[in-house]
């Protein structure tokens, strides 16, 4: 479909810079998604984020120091990211995802 974005506000250097910085952080995390099944792995990811040593934030440091318990989610989930695909023609949705 050749769709591209129309986001004129991206021309704002501050917005772009902030977004790119944040994107780098989240990319690291997402790329290691399967690895982050435990808090210890989360600590490793946090350490890998450029320019922000884990120890610089007591809150995050302590928060990610202990392994998750059974009460936590599988943060890594299914591992590789699988994009949705077009639904087969005429298929009936099993569920709806929307705001709640």
């Amino acid at each position: 479909m050749g769709q591209t974005l129309d986001m004129p506000t991206f021309n704002d250097p501050e917005t772009r810079s902030r977004g790119q910085s944040l994107q780098r952080r989240v990319t690291v995390w997402m790329g290691l998604g399967a690895m982050v099944a435990t808090g210890a792995a989360a600590a490793a990811v946090a350490n890998s984020i450029p320019g922000r040593p884990l120890g610089s934030s007591p809150a995050a440091s302590s928060a990610s120091a202990a392994p998750s318990t059974a009460g936590s989610s599988s943060v890594g989930g299914a591992g590789a990211v699988a994009a949705p695909t077009p639904a087969p023609a005429g298929s009936v949705p099993a569920v709806t995802s929307g705001g709640s």
Binding site: A65, A66, S97
Partner: protein, 328 residues
């Protein structure tokens, strides 16, 4: 389970069964590609009950409510609450505070102080001025010891419900061989193999929408899919429209160009965190999402759709958002 609303089971397309019930202030739904067993729903009931008991901001007897009202600067919390706080803090860090578990007081000040189904939807009180939230960096969690300034209102709405969906799906996948789709308020987690070609999911503004409402129908084979929207959980306060997605920088409802963001990611938690962060980020949202590996469908407040990261365009019922001059 005492006090829980009963499940309503129904057929959900060829060969599928679905069961729904109210839970966590929204709708819980479990879809299976095989026959139901009571054990399936009991397992999900257990997850929902545990989440409500630990993390509800609207139950005076929940652990979170007790922590929020505890005057001591240090409190011991359960492993379950700690397991909810850790990812909340991690995502606060990863998003530079676009997600922040200290939005609790801001939500109360905006009028979202009670269970949404019971709260006044037209409040005469004026909207307060901008005031950033205390900030997630004030929370430290050492093992089971939570340190924070007394009076800091913690809210786990941006992460806990999605964690519950992931947890329910994980447990179902561990204990049953069937394929399952768990939805909590439209935030989805998949367990097992599921149907050939993936689960067919309708994506739209409101998880209660019918097929007549504009959206897109896609198929999902693994991981999670979550949608954050400013169109559903809304009320009026002082004559202004309010919603529940608070921008921690202002302490007020996010006021950006996106009304709804859906994200597919390896887990429901990841998907929900990114979707909510994108709504809060506003103009910078696409920059944040691009390159993360997540797929996203974003809808502007005027009803145009943007697709990122491999999210299909086929089947989109909204007008696409195109770059000026790009189209012939």
């Amino acid at each position: 389970m005492i006090g829980a609303a009963p499940w309503t089971a129904q057929a959900a397309g060829a060969g599928f069964w679905s069961a729904t019930r109210p839970a966590l202030g929204t709708t819980a739904q479990v879809v299976s590609d095989s026959r139901w067993s009571a054990a399936v729903l009991e397992l999900v009931d257990g997850v929902l009950a545990g989440m409500d008991q630990v993390a509800s901001r609207f139950r005076a007897d929940s652990e979170l409510s007790r922590v929020n009202s505890d005057p001591r600067p240090e409190v011991e919390i359960s492993p379950a609450l700690a397991a909810l706080l850790r990812p909340a803090l991690m995502w606060a860090r990863l998003t530079h505070g676009l997600l922040d578990p200290t939005v609790g007081d801001a939500l109360v000040r905006s009028g979202y102080a009670d269970d949404f189904g019971e709260m006044d939807k037209d409040q005469p009180d004026p909207v307060e001025q901008e005031r950033s939230v205390p900030g997630w960096r004030l929370l430290t969690l050492h093992g089971s010891t939570l340190c924070r300034p007394p009076g800091t209102g913690i809210d786990l709405g941006a992460t806990a419900k999605a964690q519950a969906a992931d947890q329910a799906a994980d447990l179902l996948g561990q204990q049953f061989s069937d394929g399952f789709l768990v939805s909590l308020g439209g935030d989805l987690a998949i367990a097992g193999t599921g149907p050939s070609g993936g689960w067919v999911v309708r994506v739209t503004d409101d998880h209660r929408s019918g097929p007549e409402d504009p959206g897109q129908t896609v198929a999902l084979t693994a991981g999670g899919l979550a949608t954050s929207s400013v169109t559903v959980r809304r009320w009026r306060r002082g004559g202004q429209n309010m919603h529940h997605l608070v921008d921690p920088r202002t302490g007020l409802p996010a006021d950006g160009p996106w009304r709804t963001v859906s994200v597919a990611a390896p887990s429901c938690l990841q998907a929900n965190a990114l979707a909510t962060a994108a709504v809060v980020a506003g103009a910078g949202a696409t920059s944040i999402l691009e390159g993360t590996g997540a797929s996203a469908r974003m809808v502007t407040t005027d009803g145009r759709a943007v697709h990122l990261g491999g999210w299909p365009v086929v089947g989109e019922e909204l007008e696409p958002m195109v770059r000026s001059g790009a189209a012939a």
